[in-house]
Symmetry: C2
Subunit: 204 residues, 2 copies
């Protein structure tokens, strides 16, 4: 959903981008490193972690394929967190200065970029809104409706383990499992192997 569409990428910039392959556990950059590029994950998954003053590490964000990371690098001198590959990953590297000037010179690119940023803001807001719902089963139901909504479908198909979904919405796998079971008991959803069918969900 927050893909940087490369269609509008001007040829000059296209020559400047490069790729980087990462092994699991390998770092793309460290907290405090000079910010020299902006990235988009092509395949794999990266974890952004922040080391706080007391040395504890906090996961800032998980970035999956198609998503961007370190946008802040464009207007900041250093990375505020470290990025580490969780799986073998391949990321597209957009060098900071060339990207900035491309954004200045190619309004189409800038517009796509802004649209992407705004989509990301919306997505973050939705995820934050989700966290306000205490009851696990209601949170899950709203989440399901949210991801079903754009597609106008009432069927949700997961492409990753439920435990990942659980982490995404701030629940443990056990609680998610119980919530889904409860929703099914209450007739709100129906489950087949990998899919979830929303019932009577007069979607907004």
């Amino acid at each position: 959903m927050d893909l940087l569409t490369l269609e509008s990428l001007p040829p000059q910039l296209r020559q400047l981008i490069s790729y980087r392959e990462l092994e699991p556990g390998e770092a793309l950059f460290q907290q405090g490193d000079e910010a020299i590029a902006f990235f988009v994950v092509e395949t794999g998954r990266l974890r952004l972690v922040r080391y706080s003053s007391d040395g504890k590490e906090v996961t800032f964000q998980i970035t999956r394929s198609g998503e961007s990371l370190a946008e802040i690098a464009l207007f900041s001198n250093n990375y505020p967190c470290a990025a580490v590959a969780e799986l073998s990953s391949r990321v597209i590297v957009y060098p900071k200065q060339p990207l900035l000037s491309a954004l200045r010179n190619y309004p189409d690119l800038a517009e796509d970029f802004m649209a992407m940023l705004i989509g990301k803001i919306h997505d973050l807001k939705v995820r934050l809104e989700l966290r306000h719902i205490r009851a696990a089963h209601e949170r899950v139901l709203r989440y399901l409706r949210y991801i079903a909504d754009p597609s106008e479908q009432t069927v949700v198909t997961f492409d990753r383990p439920l435990k990942d979904i659980a982490a995404d919405i701030g629940l443990t796998p056990e609680t998610l499992s119980r919530a889904l079971a409860r929703l099914e008991r209450e007739g709100k959803i129906r489950r087949t192997r990998l899919q979830i069918l929303l019932q009577n969900s007069s979607a907004a």
Copy 2:
């Protein structure tokens, strides 16, 4: 932090912006309204609420003076939520189409705008990260350190009721109160009337 600096606003656009005064409780726009403008709160405070299919209302975001709202309007046809003034407020209205063309034509403006969006993303990420901390007192401590950090200060002064702070970080006022009391008992903070002093917080 996510102010749209108006310095770079070209004269043509400057003529097109207007202002709107809102009484407490008055709506700036309703959910589903055609998206015709993007806004910045000059004074006051607005609440963005979303009405879900089951009629329950969910606060999407609180927008305070200096902050922008409804960026999504620029690339979307309708507002996904309603905006209601909590206090007497004055908002700057940037009509959508003129702003879009200004962003295309004035790279400085576009750059400022992008920087603002990226700052907003960062802020949202931080707030989401906060929610992952279960223990109330630890969440509060991290929150305090976060808002103290930029100013290099170890003193935090609140300009709004604690109950608002509590809602912001996803706690009830009672729990926040207890968390602050506990932090004080443990010597992590010191409280005066309106200020909180962080102790030994070797700030990052």
